[in-house]
Amino acid sequence: MKLNNIKNMKMKPYYILLLLSLTLGGCGKDVLEEDVYSSLGVSNYFKNADDAEAILNATYASEQRRPFRDYFIMSDVTSGTLYDRAGGLEALAKSFETFSWGATHSFFSGIWARHYTTIYRANLVLDKVPEIDFDENRKKQILAEATFLRASAYVILKDLFGPVPIITTSNTSADDRPSRPTKEAFDKFVTDDFKAAAEVLPVTADRGRATKGAALSQLAKYYLNNKDWTNTADYAKQVIDLNVYHLFDGSADRSELFNPLNEDNSEFIYIRPRLAVAGLGDNYISHAAPPSYRWKGGNKENYATQFKTYSSYYDSFADNDTRKNAFITEYYNTSGNLVQLGKDDIRNFKFKEDFTATGANSGNDFPVIRYADILLSRAEALNELNGPNVESISLVNQVREKAGIADLSLADFEGKDILRTAIFQERLWEFPAEELQRQDLIRQGIFIQKAKDRGLAAQDFQVLFPIPQSEIDKNSNLTQNDGY
């Protein structure tokens, strides 16, 4: 076959082939555009009211779905009412029991990242929602809710680490190296945010949402921990005067407040709601249950790790104090035998068994702030301002009456110190497992001393936890807390 023939016969398709390859090459931009299916892009989002609600939901999700136990251990184990044994958690909890934590402990980096995620998502709401065109009233509320959530995250970070960098934009970059503000600047930022939110937020809303009362309560608590007694008393009063919150009176047994059946009450001011659904539940009870505990309701996880309460704490309750009913000292195991729990092996079943739940997902709501706390905060502030007074005694007694124990009498309190001690003792009985014990002891000024009394080499700087080492490594502008 001669070359000429081939040329004549075949070159044509070859040219077309070449041409086609070039054409295909030319339309490269389109081919390589990424088709996204299971996510959304900026171009098709931030368009309507539903989008605004959804990005707000993600902010709530970050806060509400926070694993309970890290913060809980950091608060209640360090306070010496509780300790943890066995399971995967013991080694992690141990350094809080022994006051030997270091800046690399995974709890610190976890909590830090979690709350800055909340802050980022709140900032995304604050940046994007104003541009979306929908009902102005709801828009203002959404912005106020985001502001509230952002400030709430800062409250937790400050409680653990002291003032931390303030981030107010979602337009963050890998090059950001924010530094820590002064305490004054931080306090002003947080309280301003809550005040702004309180102006807009509604008095009532679905359980779990931020309300005016929640923002005012956060202010009262923030000022309380700052020992700003006037503002504490003032904001606590504002909460009381809203007239929507009451101490739980659904049962003579105060421990029933934490039964999931009773969680729709007017004492919980702001909660992290839980549902008995995979990913949305709570597993406190799986940590508190003793080995082979026979569940009364659905079969649940019973972790090897065990939250154990010291007998000395349990014994400090008056026998007629119904809050004592939250604790168990004996139980029936799966074989039907009654098992006695020994010394320092009391189990706090405060968040009572959710009978409908199975596995590791119980529906117990967690109260972030409840009315009893507001009453006792005002009582404490008024005592600090004025010394023992009728109103403080009356506020404390409101709580004591619900617990079924005798009233205090003003006559028994000769000085500010004595009433202060009584109020803190009341708080110690009222708020176990509510993540408040550490900050209460710090405010009382005995957090470190109590640890030393337990024979630990606790040091004064340990009232703050260290900034996570991994964050210091990534951000040279971040200064470590003293002592670490």
């Binding site: 082939l17 993600a58 399971g87 080694a91 992690l92 934590w101 779990g208």
Partner: protein, 1023 residues
Amino acid sequence: MKIKFWLLFSLLGSSLFIAQAQQGTIINSILEGQVTDKSNNAPLEGVSIVIKGTTNQILTNSKGQFILRTGQKLPYTLLVTIVGYKSTEIKVDGSPVKIELEQDVQSLSDIVVVGYGTQKRKDLTGSVSSISAKDFNKGSNVSVDNLIAGRAAGVQVTQSSSEPGAGVSIRIRGANSINASNEPLYVIDGFPIDNSNRTPTSAVVTESAPRNPLNSLNPSDIASVEILKDASATAIYGSRGANGVILITTKRGKRGRLSVEYNVSGAVQEVAKKIPVLSTSQYISLLNDLKAAQGLAPEFTDEDIAAIGKGVNWQDEIFRKGYTQNHQLSFSGGQDKFTYYASLNYLDQTGIVISSGIKRYTGRVNLNYTDAKFKFGINLNTAKINDDYVPNGVSINEGAGIVNAAIFQDPTLGIYDKNTGKYAQTNLVNLENPLGLAYGVSDYAVTSRTFGNAFLEYFIIPEFSVKINGGTDIQSSRRDTYLGRNTRKGNNANGIASVQTTNSNNALLELTARYAKTFSNHSLEVLGGYTWQNFDWNTLNSSAQNFTTDAFGTDNMAAGSSSTFTINTYKSRNQLQSLLGRINYTFNDKYLLTANFRADGSSRFGADNKYGYFPSLALGWHVNRENFFRNVRTISTLKLRASYGSTGNQEIGNYRSLVLLGTQGQAVFGNAAEVGISTTQLANPNLKWETTNQFDAGVDFGLLDDRITGSIDYFNKNTKDLLLELPVPTTTGFATTLTNIGSMNNRGFEFTVNTVNLRGKFNWTTSANLSVVRNKVTGIGGLPDILQGSAGFFNSFSILKVGQPLNSFYGYEVVGVLQKDEQYTPQPLSAPGDLKFLDANDDKTISASDRKILGSPFPDFTYGINNSLGYGRFNLSFFWQGVKGGKILNLNISESENPISFRRNRLSRSYTDRWTETNPTNENPSGLSPAFAYVDASGTINSRAVQSASFLRLKNISLSYDIPANRVFQSAQVYFVAQNLVTFSNYFGFDPEVTAFGTSNVRVDYNAYPLSKIYTLGLNVKF
């Protein structure tokens, strides 16, 4: 665009039709002849006979005979070629010819498969390791990597685990990348496949290594494996070439009558080594001693001890003998222009851990048609794989797998609960009963995968051809997992069912054109082409809990309670579009030049950085063909090679440059959950290619008439713009962002030598390889270091630091044990028997800043030596594989020395000789205070867990006997193979070669599936 393709197909089709009409010749001459093997005078079938200067080609028949009836006038010259023999040219005048061909023992003349084509080995300028079927590791092999482990210099094959069908990690010349993949590209018969694991991952544990995606390729179908190592060889694969390329060529039919081959083998596997843990009595006395040392009542009273009796050795309970049977039936043959190969294979392997195994069914058809105008071929592979999983992995506590549970479960817990008859469970140890895990969890996956390609090459003129190659790879996989009431987790949730499916689809289109011409002293080959490849995949996962009965398993998930239902779907796509070109030029058969270029576009990168450009240039020089070398008798071959070029890496997952919003948790208001949506990543719109520039210089040599052949290569690779998950301050709302930052260097040497030590009736050949790789991180974007690694209870145990090997181990160095009355200044609070840590920064206290680098995961060198001894019909070969230097982190040691609960069992190491006042050893701590006051013992590691990973292993020893042919069969062979028979190593765990992270570079052994010794007996008959 689809329309354009169809247009192209139809145009191509019609031109082919026209071409078919162009046949017809006039006969001018007839020539008869026969071709035989010079050594034994046996006729050679399928030898190609071509009249020089024409395209007329015929093949010899089964008697080696041929007749040429052509239009060519005599005399003319014949080119006589067949693979495995030296090609010959012979001038003929018309009288019958007898042509004797000499066997070609030198590998240098072999045809080597390279990217988008083939080359003669002697013409290679790049660094290519070629392993043909005869050199494959023998024995029971599930996947292709088993065949080549240890056989090629510079190629480190690490089996992530010894589980049947487990994944494998291959590193070619070290590791280039930190967060992008370091696995090579696999190309099967010219079809680059997506080798990511698409079998759904375990719903029970965090699996350390998913099973090998290449399990769907039957190793018995493989004819050869070529490993492309330097830039000259890999640059044609551009963006996917940086980690090296593994070209797999499957078997073709040979011209001649139908040949039927049946290969059957059976194997027994047994666990090569168990992990020494405390026996029941040691455990009891340790726990009682520890209690006593703290002044507490004994954990076990004499009564308890009597009741416990012998206790349970959990490892004995979960290990068993495994069996493998493998049947391979293949059919092959062909006529003058057409060859075929077809095979069916059945493999059934049970693992050495109870309740694990794999069953595989594969079928393959390879068809090839060749004439002067057309080459056409189809390669089609289909496989069905049934995986039986036993939960095993790196998760902890209630999520721990069977090996972890078998090591750490309380030996005093009986197997069965006396009251319920079910597997006993304990709340003292947060681990499942290992047997409950094996038999209470049903975990199966069925994967169907069909891949193949079809090509048509049209020779417009003999020198110029165009080719279209289309391929597709369709995989669907479904995994069903049910945790029944025989597990603690399943019991607490009243049964947990999960069904996960994935579907993936990969399509390829390649259009290439090739021009090849030899003009006097110049030989030129030019290749150009366009390729497009598309990867789609999607998943559908669902789960349910709270069943009234275990009877349904996963077959009726609606029987669970609806509040526990979860469902999730995902879909993803990425594409590659490329232009490629190559020039091979040879002058005087002495001077070689190869230039490659590829422009690769990937959908994965930022809008302005989609395209990457990857050129390479290589030169070669056959020194021994120079006149001045003629007199050097001892050196029969000497070729120098050098290459330099760029390759890329795009293995980062999809959508990483984009701002994406996705579901981010759910908010609960009242009793309703509402989905939240937020940004899912700190986007990097500038994301671009990671680029590796590699220099390679090599020598190929042959001595003493090529009785000794070999190569030496030096390489130096610099990778820049590393795709790095850069840790960013979490004040940004994110922990990391994928950034092109940092750089890495890998350099080293590779030596390969093959010798024919003895020839004749008793023959002996040796082949050996040795490689040295030095890896170091040369930049990480100005950060002092980056800590990585997370498994079990431990994290941040490996470090990226400039000047140090990638992922060096990082933690505290133990300097001894605090003795009684000893004062160790940095640890004033420590008790006698506690570990003493090195005060690395000399600040008189021990804190996180005293952590230091504890070793490199990279070996000093790796080597393999194979000896093959033949005597008559017997052949004995044994293959040693070794690794010298390098460390591995054993997290089971860390876990054992920091027991998460008192009642867990422990490794006997460090406890049987623990420090006590009466045994004041400096080796092992007292075991009393696992949570050290000074180090975050729960999360960090210390030097006690960083172990030498050196080993020397008799990986393979095989003995075969060729049964003389008879009327029933053409040939037959019986063989016996023992794998992993002997290992010399100081390593504590099952095997120093494992990696708990599957394909990552963090060398960690954590709950590895143990290595097995395998004894295989097989028979191979050819009819």
